[in-house]
Symmetry: C2
């Protein structure tokens, strides 16, 4: 499949630094990666995805992302038409063709299109695509230096009874509408609550608050983030107490420190909640310690895998 193309990459041709994609069986510049407007991945958002990142030429926790992606596809009864090794090869292939040392790599499996004239989902041919683009920050490095501002939205997060949040999905209208509202209030980020008023998550990130002597993060109703998992492990390593449970809006507002976690940026400090400063109003020492450890892990072979650039 890729031998001839790889020769082109090795020879310096077929390099697309703005981003490379794998689409319908071959690689292309990401600008050319397009999906049919009849694909149920668009017209029903009937698809799942996962995102892994590359830092200094190494994937961070690629196995964990591939595990989660497989579980999500199984849950939605989707078949990408590729085994795990095949998907892994494409993930490497996209980064190789983009030639990026720091990248955001997204893989998606969609329901595809049903047979002509049928609406029976079981007749659909599922599709798979993948792309690598330059690294994406939810909170820019500048914002991280001073800490981001977070708004607590009135919009309710889509509940687990409707869409399983453990299956990474593109049902983001609640998140996007909440974000537009947060902008109106001068905030950069937003977090949503569940039907009981408990904090859940924001667009693409989990949230942690340091209250009453320990980190608190929602135990349920959110994506099981892999950066979230890293924070739980790292807090244990450095002896910062941490609890998974109920996080309220009140907890967020009175916290000494608040941080968010995402593959798109790692561990990022929040210093303003609902327009009021968090603690001293500057990124806190507990967050800084976790963040330093998180980035150090990116060179640890236990958590990272070198990209096959050749």
């Amino acid at each position: 499949m890729t031998k001839a193309a790889d020769a082109g990459v090795a020879a310096g041709r077929d390099r697309w630094p703005a981003g490379a994609a794998w689409m319908e069986g071959s690689y292309c510049p990401v600008e050319e990666a397009k999906i049919s407007v009849l694909d149920l991945g668009l017209t029903r958002s009937d698809c799942t995805y996962d995102v892994v990142h590359v830092w200094r030429g190494r994937f961070y926790r690629l196995d964990a992302h591939l595990d989660r992606f497989s579980a999500s596809m199984a849950r939605l009864r989707l078949d990408p038409g590729l085994d795990r090794a095949g998907i892994e090869a494409i993930v490497h292939g996209c980064v190789r063709r983009a030639g990026l040392r720091e990248a955001y790599v997204s893989m998606t499996c969609t329901r595809g299109r049903t047979a002509v004239g049928s609406r029976d989902l079981r007749t659909a041919t599922n599709t798979f695509h993948c792309f690598a683009i330059p690294f994406v920050w939810i909170s820019t490095p500048d914002q991280q230096a001073s800490g981001a501002s977070l708004w607590i939205s009135q919009v309710t997060r889509i509940p687990p009874q409707s869409v399983d949040p453990a299956v990474k999905n593109y049902h983001w209208l609640d998140l996007d509408m909440a974000l537009l509202d947060a902008y109106d209030h001068g905030a950069q980020l937003v977090v949503l609550r569940d039907l009981t008023g408990a904090i859940t998550e924001g667009p693409g990130f989990n949230v942690f608050a340091y209250v009453d002597g320990r980190w608190l993060t929602p135990a349920a109703g959110t994506l099981e983030g892999i950066t979230r998992r890293s924070v739980i492990e790292l807090a244990s390593e450095v002896g910062q107490p941490l609890e998974q449970g109920l996080l309220t809006a009140g907890d967020l507002r009175r916290a000494a420190e608040v941080l968010i976690t995402s593959t798109a940026g790692g561990i990022m400090p929040v210093t303003v909640v609902d327009g009021r400063p968090v603690g001293t109003g500057t990124p806190g020492p507990l967050t800084a310690q976790l963040r330093d450890r998180y980035w150090a892990r990116h060179e640890d072979p236990q958590y990272s895998t070198p990209v096959r650039y050749n």
Copy 2:
């Protein structure tokens, strides 16, 4: 924009009977209509759409569909970059190029892509596309002759507190997962309930049940279907009592008649609910009367508009 292309259509060239689309400023066969995998309409399902149909060369209630589409876009703060007359011209243009007398015409406005390196939704350039394909039936004519089978799902419909159901949207994972489950139970269609257990809607349709001497349909928590509106008007015209209110699973199971409504098929009888026959187990006379009137309306200039084929 379209003068030269229209000359081609008039001359018999540029006819695409499998479907015609309008994408990025020009017409193309629907098979070539594709959207970037980076578009937030895909990666966040941040978009809205509407569907109008053509029957015997006439649009049914085109104005009502264009009104609803405009309202949905305004609600999501989306700008298609076209005024109403521009959208209407494209809707006609797609049907003209497909050359279809019976068509399903879908128009979509997406958030588009943010500026390079930014995740700020306000930097996104919204996109618009449209396509006309051969008419689609949710319940096939064969199924309608005998009546369809409907399953009452355990999956909860995404609640209005999360995503406004009056904004026609592609958040269908709850509906699709429920439909896959319905197939497992031998049913063709599925209907979902809200958090309180009340019936809401199915994938692409509203539902009505004739119980205790009147039609009953959910008053809230569903799309404000235009075929639903037709049923409400037609029932009044022919003197069939109708009430918008709370519809329970119990009501559906003990109803004398059940029907569903959708642009994709009109008014369609349901004769099996949860594996048990509805009434006599055959399509009922009240449904038949409404259905006849519904199709007759398609030639009434008050409700229909001739396609501009030339």
